[in-house]
Symmetry: C2
Subunit: 136 residues, 2 copies
DNA sequence: TAAAATATGCTATTGGCAATAGCAATAATT
DNA sequence: AATTATTGCTATTGCCAATAGCATATTTTA
């Protein structure tokens, strides 16, 4: 009864992603970050010239949804906004944001390593290229 | 700026799944079904003895979340409940449910075929096994 | 340079999937 | 017979994402 759906790549994608997100979310929650928040921090990294729109474009998060996301990071003291011109601002990590990013990096790195380790060797190197063909 | 995250399997998983779900959802919406509803229909198929709990167990949908889902399928006239004992009921497709399932099958089959076609040949056969190692 | 098109950051709302806590009734186990 | 587990349910919450609309500012082009 099970095996029927598991052969469908779309179904397998959903299930794998759900499992992955549940695990990673739980780990990131320990440092007070959501998945989407962590991905924003990872993307800003050392940069001092990235705008909200830039981040949203790369991560495919709409401007409207960036607002509360960055609002939370701001309220947590992890980022500050620096006016670039009268329309847009750069999103910059505070010292606390940089420290949090280091934690997030450590978590995601060990997470990704464990994830890859679960995949049988002969399939391992094919996963990311196959996935990236589906959206990039 | 982009490529950094795209190398992370967790990130690639999320992005691929989001793209996939957006596409498939749009197709299923044309026949009035959500993804989760379609997966329930696909699983019931011809069976006449599956309970709500059974479906939830296989699909990893909690009982609490099965209630509104089956409620919608019921309201749409696609399923009926047949009492098994005083505690549980079998979920059975109506004629309309069977017809809708046939449509859903056609949609998912061509969808899955197109999805696989997007993946470079050398990676193609590795996707589903790699994904299933992450949750099964 | 003036007018039109585009971009930015935002408010407010909605949708879809999933999780938690708790409950009454029933069925299965010991 | 008493305990434990299961079923179906209510009610609520969380996370990610989408849509529609808006004021302001910038860029393009005519």
């Amino acid at each position: 009864m099970h095996d029927l759906l598991a052969q469908l790549p779309g179904y397998a994608l959903r299930r794998a992603t759900n499992a992955m997100m549940a695990d990673l979310s739980a780990r990131l929650q320990k440092i007070g970050l959501r998945l989407s928040e962590a991905s924003v921090l990872l993307l800003i990294d050392g940069r001092t010239d990235v705008t909200s729109s830039d981040l949203g474009r790369v991560l495919d998060i709409q401007r409207a949804n960036m607002v509360p996301l960055l609002g939370r990071l701001d309220a947590a003291g992890l980022i500050v906004r620096k006016q670039l011109d009268r329309k847009s601002s750069a999103i910059i990590l505070t010292d606390e944001g940089t420290a949090r990013l280091a934690l997030a990096k450590a978590i995601t790195e060990s997470f990704e390593a464990e994830l890859m380790a679960r995949i049988p060797e002969q399939h391992r190197d094919h996963l990311v290229p196959a996935l990236n063909a589906l959206w990039m």
